[in-house]
């Protein structure tokens, strides 16, 4: 067996195992970390298929950004673990149905004769070139228009998400940056000239009281 094939099976085993971990772990933070592991292994599998750009971007975007936000949310929530378990058996048939549908779709795409994904050999000029550059060339020449449309949709989604969830509080306090930048030392600080030694009033106090203080200490 070729080394790459062994590597593929090892990575796939980790991927399947960590995906199972996502849906079986009791603690949502553990589940999120399993999801991170499965993204990472999926990236490694793609790397084996020489799709280095997609692999690294998967890690950069999903592991580096999306899952961090996920973890933020999961850690902040006070989740009742027992409530999460409720209704497992009633949702199982629906979930299983969706799972089977997905497997069917994948097998039609990958194994069937309609798409012929696996049978198409790679064009020889792709094998040795950087696929980052090739993807960039395609995206910004042939597919510029769909690419820009997708970007616009994402932008709308970002703004919509903020508008839908943002409820401005009435008592919000703000920093006025212009004032802070324009501030001078003299506005905040007053330098007071003082003598180094405090002028002592002519004391004729009795030395006994001082001695008494000293004893108290």
């Amino acid at each position: 067996m070729e080394f790459k094939l062994i590597l593929f099976y090892v990575l796939s085993a980790i991927l399947v195992g960590s995906s199972l971990g996502v849906i079986t772990s009791r603690n949502p933070v553990n589940a999120a970390m399993f999801l991170v592991l499965s993204f990472f292994t999926a990236g490694a599998v793609w790397m084996l298929a020489q799709a280095e750009f997609l692999a690294i971007v998967l890690i950069l975007v999903y592991v580096g950004a999306v899952m961090v936000l996920f973890l933020f949310v999961v850690m902040m929530l006070d989740i009742n673990f027992d409530r999460l378990r409720q209704g497992f058996w009633s949702y199982l048939p629906l979930g299983a149905l969706i799972g089977i549908l997905m497997i069917l779709e994948m097998s039609i795409v990958l194994g069937g004769q309609y798409f012929q994904v696996l049978d198409t050999p790679l064009p020889p000029e792709l094998a040795n070139s950087s696929n980052t550059k090739d993807l960039g060339l395609l995206l910004y020449t042939q597919y510029t228009y769909p690419d820009q449309v997708a970007a616009a949709i994402l932008l709308v989604a970002i703004i919509a998400a903020i508008i839908l969830t943002y409820r401005g509080r009435k008592d919000t306090k703000r920093q006025v940056i212009a004032d802070q930048v324009a501030v001078k030392a003299a506005d905040r600080l007053r330098v007071v000239k003082m003598d180094a030694v405090k002028p002592q009033p002519a004391v004729t106090a009795a030395p006994e009281s001082e001695a008494g203080d000293g004893a108290a200490k």
Partner: protein, 349 residues
């Protein structure tokens, strides 16, 4: 070198490529860990002299054995896991913070051709790994089950996420002018140009045409590694020590190793992206690893200098600097670079 490879192949046969890779990894990681240890010594000395003290001076001549003593002390101390901590994640967190800091060194070119993995997407690889380092911090904060640690983790994560974007955009400018994601190509690209032909290569490096990006990248790097003046994640005076307040012994040491390894990494990357890597600044001196080490050391000194000089930033000011100053600046410079590249004044072809 070739003779050594030959002997190895004869000795180990099919397993040789594996052993050879492991040897190369050791050759990178062992000096790195030594550099990390002595960076802590150097930091204490530099800050000591800046504050008119002499710093460590008891263990060995000039205190040179101090980092070794510190390491031994931390190794021998007990690693305590708090009873209410989430144990698995608590142990995983320091591992997750040190691993990306070490793995990123795989693609760093130390001299022409002297690199462990000369991959095409080296820049992307570095970006991806620097974004993964955040997990160690978040998990450490959460799994400790302590309020101070959690606050530190939240601050740290928000800060790292914000400054990563500015760093990414600054690097996009670099890759636009060098037309490559390969770090060796980026360095070699900086060796060409009008000034390099005149023998003053220092003026051909990326720092001059991309000067704002150079500043943004390095300052974001300081923020990304949670160093002073951006060290609110540790904030000794407010939240004790931030995300690693509950760690002791060598688990605690791992966080420090990761922080200093990241500092060295950021310095080396800044040197590679903007200061010409291993290239010599003037034509009559030979190129070589020496120059990369000099540049990285100078940048590392800046890290220490900042710490001795600046007071800690206020939290909202850190966020403002990242989101409202650096990111707009990088986007504007992205457009400037793009226009420059297609204009007749293009200096990079």
């Amino acid at each position: 070198m070739d003779a050594m490879i030959q002997v190895g192949q004869n000795l180990f046969g099919a397993a040789w490529p594996l052993i050879w890779s492991v040897l190369k990894i050791v050759a990178i990681v062992a000096p790195l860990l030594l550099a990390v240890a002595y960076l802590t010594y150097f930091e204490r000395k530099v800050i000591g002299y800046m504050q008119i003290r002499i710093g460590p001076n008891r263990v060995g001549p000039w205190g040179l054995l101090q980092p070794i003593a510190d390491g031994v002390k931390l190794l021998l101390k007990e690693s305590i896991v708090p009873t209410v901590a989430s144990k698995g994640l608590f142990i995983l967190a320091p591992v997750l913070s040190i691993a990306p800091a070490l793995v990123a060194w795989a693609v760093i070119p130390f001299a022409d051709g002297l690199v462990l993995a000369d991959i095409d997407a080296g820049l992307l690889f570095v970006l991806a790994l620097s974004s993964v380092g955040i997990y160690g911090v978040i998990l450490a904060g959460w799994s400790s089950n302590s309020k101070y640690a959690f606050l530190g983790a939240m601050r740290c994560a928000a800060q790292m996420v914000s400054y990563e974007i500015a760093m990414g955009f600054a690097l996009v400018c670099v890759l636009m002018v060098s037309q490559s994601l390969n770090l060796s190509d980026i360095v070699n690209g900086q060796g060409k140009g009008l000034f390099a032909d005149f023998g003053v290569g220092i003026l051909s490096w990326n720092w001059l045409p991309l000067f704002p990006m150079f500043l943004v990248y390095f300052i974001s790097g300081v923020a990304e590694t949670n160093r002073a003046p951006f060290d609110v994640a540790e904030g000794e005076s407010e939240i004790v020590a931030g995300f690693h307040v509950d760690y002791s012994g060598f688990a605690f040491a791992l966080f420090f190793l990761a922080e200093y390894a990241n500092m060295i990494l950021i310095s080396i990357l800044t040197a590679i992206m903007f200061l010409g890597g291993w290239l010599s600044p003037v034509g009559f001196l030979p190129d070589g690893f020496f120059w990369l080490a000099v540049k990285a050391s100078a940048l590392l000194f800046c890290f220490l200098w900042f710490r001795a000089t600046f007071p800690r930033y206020r939290y909202d000011q850190i966020m403002r600097l990242g989101w409202k100053v650096f990111i707009p600046l990088t986007i504007i410079w992205l457009v400037v670079t793009g226009v420059w590249l297609i204009s007749p004044l293009n200096i990079w072809n």
